[in-house]
Symmetry: C3
Subunit: 395 residues, 3 copies
């Protein structure tokens, strides 16, 4: 009997469909408010979330690899180097990198350095009057070498501690204002050049144009160097034709121009070219190179329809429609003239309290009398689904 009752309950439960009972209020004001609010929520979910924000799509970030090529010639005429041509192999250092390329725009050159002894450059901590001021083996991180312990003449007036270093030392002063690279083109094989209005898809850029688009002046930037970001943005909708998926280029200066609040303004690094002279002795040319490093930064995402985010947004939107009911209920049951009737129709009360205070029941009983007149002695049976403290009022 028990098992039969259990199976029966399960079957009974399976073939049941529960639907909430609805009170339909037909009213111009409430109906209009309700429909407008529902329309707003639906417009938000479909229009804004799904269509504009593409909430029906799953997204993935772009994964990229960049190859760059630089072309162009520069000419300098300086006292240390004389008239000199610079081509790509000379000014792109290192010759190839991933996602980045450096273009030398200025330099401080120190020729024919060999490992030997020479006086340090005059600076705080390196000036001396006798050998006692110099400590052998001392290695100042601002210095150029290891001190030998001797104090030697630097110039007619200065005496500094002698060091073992690559001599002659580099004189680290302000880089000269040169005009090394006034006109460098990138991969000129094609005749197009990137122009935001006329040729936005041409992947060939003038370095000067890139710097100008970032609201900078190439000549000013070239003196101390800097870092330029070439931002390539891919925003693709994979539900659309693939020809719609094109990159957008923007340029911006990445290093901090402010010389005050900046550890190392501009962009420079030192490198050397090594040689052996006739005596098989190693010499090197030290170059402090200032230049513009162009970092190619590719970012973006692609979206494609996916059932999971779609139903997630639809579900959340449906739940928001529930808020509409809350808002409209509040208006109907608080602000409308017939709110008492609506309250009656909507709510049924069952008390679980043993004692019901008079103030509570009075509130409700008053309403019941108004509505049920004339009421027969058997009215509890007939309005059993309205409200009534069924047990507390005896038949």
């Amino acid at each position: 009997m028990k098992t039969r009752g259990c199976c029966a309950s399960i079957c009974q439960c399976f073939f049941e469909y529960s639907t909430p009972k609805i009170l339909v209020i037909r009213s111009f004001k409430v109906g209009t408010l309700n429909r407008i609010t529902q329309a707003l929520v639906i417009a938000y979910v479909i229009g804004y979330v799904c269509v504009l924000n593409k909430g029906y799509q799953d997204t993935d970030a772009v994964l990229s690899s960049v190859t760059t090529k630089v072309k162009g010639i520069a000419l300098t005429n300086t006292s240390d180097l004389g008239l000199r041509i610079w081509d790509v192999a000379d000014y792109v250092i290192p010759p190839q990198e991933e996602n980045s390329f450096f273009v030398l725009t200025n330099l401080l050159i120190t020729l024919n350095q060999t490992q030997s002894h020479c006086p340090e450059v005059p600076k705080t901590g390196f000036d001396c009057t006798s050998d006692r001021d110099c400590k052998a083996g001392s290695r100042d991180t601002r210095g150029n070498g290891v001190q030998t312990g001797k104090c030697v003449k630097y110039s007619a007036v200065d005496k500094t501690c002698e060091v073992l270093a690559w001599c002659p030392l580099e004189l680290d002063k302000e880089p000269p204002k040169r005009n090394i690279l006034p006109y460098v083109n990138k991969t000129y094989l094609e005749q197009c050049v990137f122009n935001r209005i006329t040729d936005p898809d041409c992947p060939i850029f003038r370095l000067k144009d890139m710097v100008t688009e970032a609201n900078e002046d190439f000549q000013t930037m070239a003196v101390h160097g800097g870092v330029m970001g070439v931002q390539i943005r891919w925003e693709c909708d994979l539900d659309m034709p693939s020809s719609w998926c094109v990159p957008r280029y923007t340029f911006r200066r990445l290093d901090n121009k402010d010389p005050v609040n900046n550890v190392a303004p501009g962009y420079n690094f030192r490198f050397a070219k090594y040689y052996k002279n006739g005596n098989n002795e190693e010499t090197r040319t030290l170059i402090k190179g200032f230049g513009i490093r162009f970092d190619v930064m590719v970012f973006g995402q692609a979206g494609k329809f996916n059932i999971v985010p779609t139903l997630l947004n639809v579900g959340a939107g449906l739940a928001l429609l529930g808020l509409v009911t809350v808002v409209c209920d509040w208006i109907v049951l608080t602000c409308m003239t017939k709110k008492n009737i609506y309250n009656e129709e909507k709510y049924s009360y069952v008390d679980d309290f043993q004692l019901v205070s008079n103030s509570f029941s009075n509130l409700r009983m008053t309403c019941s009398i108004l509505l049920i007149v004339p009421v027969q002695p058997f009215w509890p049976k007939f309005i059993i689904l309205d409200y009534s403290p069924v047990f507390s009022i005896p038949l």
Copy 2:
């Protein structure tokens, strides 16, 4: 009295539990439809979203660093260089990079360049008949140097503008078909070699195998160079043992092979080696190196259980169950034979209209007559829970 009423209301509100009134329709058809649809939604939320899509997990992208090492020897025998050995220090340029390594596979070499004057390579714009055709100081971006203004003999038949450049100039022609690197292994210290079937976790790859897996031919690719992507994908479930978390390797060619729609087919760059000859004059060897750049791209994500996405998906799923009610309601109230009874049971109507047009009320009155037979003239009182403009019809 007011405060007492206010506190009383709040208490009354606190101890109330509101639950919607439910109409339970016991029907084979509707019940089965209802349960099946609910089962579908629950199967979707639990099975697809949570279990398959791991919707209960929060994810984070992988952050990686890659070190690579290349090993192997190559031998070339050419007219310009003679018999020559190439080892790692010769063909990996630059010697170390992050996330990438370049292997030289072909080259055009120009030996013993010095800064001097020589005739430009014959090309459109450089050909001339007299000095008037050459403009001193002109710097064509396709050229090799700065024009001096003279028109000189290039060969027996050609005359071109003289330039200050690294002479002799490079003759930029098609790279020869060499066989520089037939067999280069990566880090041979271990004896394993990556094989997708037998050794999928061995991090030692034959360059040739990587290129073959990308459906490319190494020898063809080696002539003009190219860019290969080594994609290392990490998909980890941090709720599972960490030994399950292994990388998956795939290889693909990244550069565009199509020579027509391509700015610069293949992959090459120029670099130089600098020397000083017996006269302390700087000479250099210019090398236009063609090769394959291997970009190691690590991507992927790890997921771990998190309460927030779990409850987000559960919440959205619950809201979707609301759709089931909408669908079943529509079927029940439109298609079923007893739809009128269900309509009566489910809906109660309250009008807010002062005047109710005859056409509206006729629609409903007809139904009420059918249902409530026999109906007394005072029927509004007795069917108080169906629809009635309670106040507008006097008792």
Copy 3:
């Protein structure tokens, strides 16, 4: 008439507001349980999801570019090189990279290599007794060159196959324990140095401090090299003042220290410096450099208020409140003493079955008898809104 009925239906539908009918159970136990559960859900949605997890924000990943500079001097005194100074141009290889810099800490140097013939280094596969053991043209990937086919003396006791290679060959042995870089500072222009407690925002780091923070010993790591990650984390709330958005630095060793389960312990690579001797013959110095590569890894995300994720989380939270009703319903209709009354008040039944089996109807009849006392023999009529096949029982 039809169109008028159709328009009328649409208007009628537009001005309707449907609200579910509610059964309010006033009970201390159920009310309190209900309010507590609702408060928990609301506290979870607002407190945890929105405030703590910032669920109201849309996020985007950081896109960064890094510039680094290294400063400092090292001194070595070895048999092969003698007393030698190393500055930045000597030990940072390559001189500039994006997001990474390598500092040479140890080396194996092979001077004055030229392309010539010499015996291979004794190793399995290279040892021989006569020319028959050496195959001309053979190129072992562990070797240094291409075999000539001759078997020559390597030392007093060993004979190995002759190769065409850069001779003399490198003797790849354990790197010596040197102390090349005991004290290297980064960009010393400012006087601050990063300290996690006193100076957490100073972007100037001692290499030794970085290694120590990663629980490693610089001297031990310097012998074989390694890879250090400098993790810069940006977590920014764009709804807050921008001054709150500062980077957090952490350091960790990225390479695997375990020498057993590791293809290539430490970090090293080979590079060469090329020279031309008096006879215009190319020589080179081969350097196997061991060092620490510092990878600067920038990651993080910024969040800003956005209506879409906010409403998504609110919607899902509202749906979760529906669970509260499910739980409380179950308690009320199963565990409470007055569950039968609540069942009656909440549920109305309509059967779609032609024949109702006795077992089913008995279950319900029992309940109805209990509730509707006194009940007359014609009770089906009077409990018309409970369950009854209205049409099948004639009045």
